[in-house]
């Protein structure tokens, strides 16, 4: 077991420092790059916060859908292959729900301000 603060807390501390202390000092293209850097740290924080739970839920759904076991990567590969082969499609019970749930979990990390995501979230997740 590693010591604390946790990676989430450490990453947040760096993002806060860059935002509060460094942002006022620079301008132009460097300021744009700094905003990208802060966005990256915030994304990493969101992923560290959510990934374990969302991956577990994704694996559960994939097991039910595919009837096999494996890591989240292996199961995604298997689902991708079955869709490519035409063995699974939108008429397959649970597929649309699974893809929606998985995609919503990704947007929650990648781009929670994306307008399509916010619209779908307002429909109830």
């Amino acid at each position: 077991m590693q010591d604390e603060p946790t990676p989430i807390e450490l990453t947040k501390a760096v993002a806060d420092f860059l935002r509060s202390d460094i942002t006022p000092l620079i301008s132009g293209h460097q300021a744009f790059k700094l905003r990208v850097a802060i966005n990256i740290l915030e994304l990493v924080t969101r992923q560290l916060t959510r990934e374990k739970e969302s991956d577990a839920a994704e694996v559960e759904r994939l097991r039910a859908l595919l009837g096999i076991d494996g890591s989240v990567t292996e199961l995604n590969r298997a689902l991708a292959e079955r869709i490519a082969q035409g063995e699974v499609d939108l008429t397959t019970p649970g597929l649309a729900e699974h893809l929606w749930a998985t995609t919503m979990d990704k947007l929650a990390v990648d781009q929670p301000n994306y307008a399509s995501y916010k619209r779908e979230l307002s429909r109830g997740g």
């Binding site: 893809l99 929606w100 947007l107 781009q111």
Partner: protein, 328 residues
Amino acid sequence: MIEAELSRSVARWCPGATGVTGAAKLSGGASQETWRFDIVHPDGPIGAILRRSPKGYGAAPTRAAGLGAEAQLMQLAYEAGVPSPRVMHVLTPEDELGTGFIMQRVEGETIARKILRDEEYAAARPLLARQIGGILAGLHRLPQDKLPALRSRGATQEIGEFERDYRSLNWPKPVFELALRWLRDHDPGPAAETTLVHGDFRNGNLIIGSDGVRAVLDWELAHLGDPMEDLGWVCVNSWRFGEIDKPVGGFGTREELFAGYEAAGRKVDPARVKFWEVMGTLRWGIMCGGMMQRFREGPDHSMERAMIGRRASETEIDLLRLLAPRGS
């Protein structure tokens, strides 16, 4: 610095020019290296833009028309009355500036979010969807016997090409697989008419002023194909920049776009436009994957490129909204 090379270059082809000032790299377009500068001239400064061959940026070499072709197309468009900058000079090796060209600077805004939010463009915004329809009709009518050599791509070939690009990423994405299946099932086949296709006509690649569209930029993906491709691409949600209920670049409706296109004497096939919108959404998603790959493998190890890789999921939600919409 680049001003020394530019000064030597303009002295060769711009009579009276004595040098350049104010050279600055523009951060606007992510897929090109573009510089602005002013040509010093006894009649007053001439605003100019240098567009030159990217390093690690831009479309895959097999897809790009090349900067030479791009310069030719912009000049043709300019002559035909399609809003376009005038090309002033195509770079030669003695310019020592790489490959590319120099064009007259058109004043206006290209940053999509500003165009969609700023007061300055408020009066123009409601007119843009229809105006874009008219511009695309003009672009699709450019004389084919004058075009540079361009690749030719129909729907079936494009599906195959995107599938190959996607598979080469080794990036299993069930939503992309679903989209590929849908595209194959809905492949409209060869277009009734093959025309010039701009290939990247969207909000972000247009110079907009308070009076509307002033110039169409970024012709590097121009090819011959189905004209409906351009109408579908301009509607891809990624280019609405948050204005998701206004499909045409965040400006207006498909009906306005189609009306502008048909008022200019060309026919719209809405089913094909929808096909190309789905294709375009997947295309941008796969391009995001390509950015991730280039970030990993170099030469561009930038944070911006890394973050574009993380935008593929935006296209996944948009594909689901197109192909498996949830009840409201």
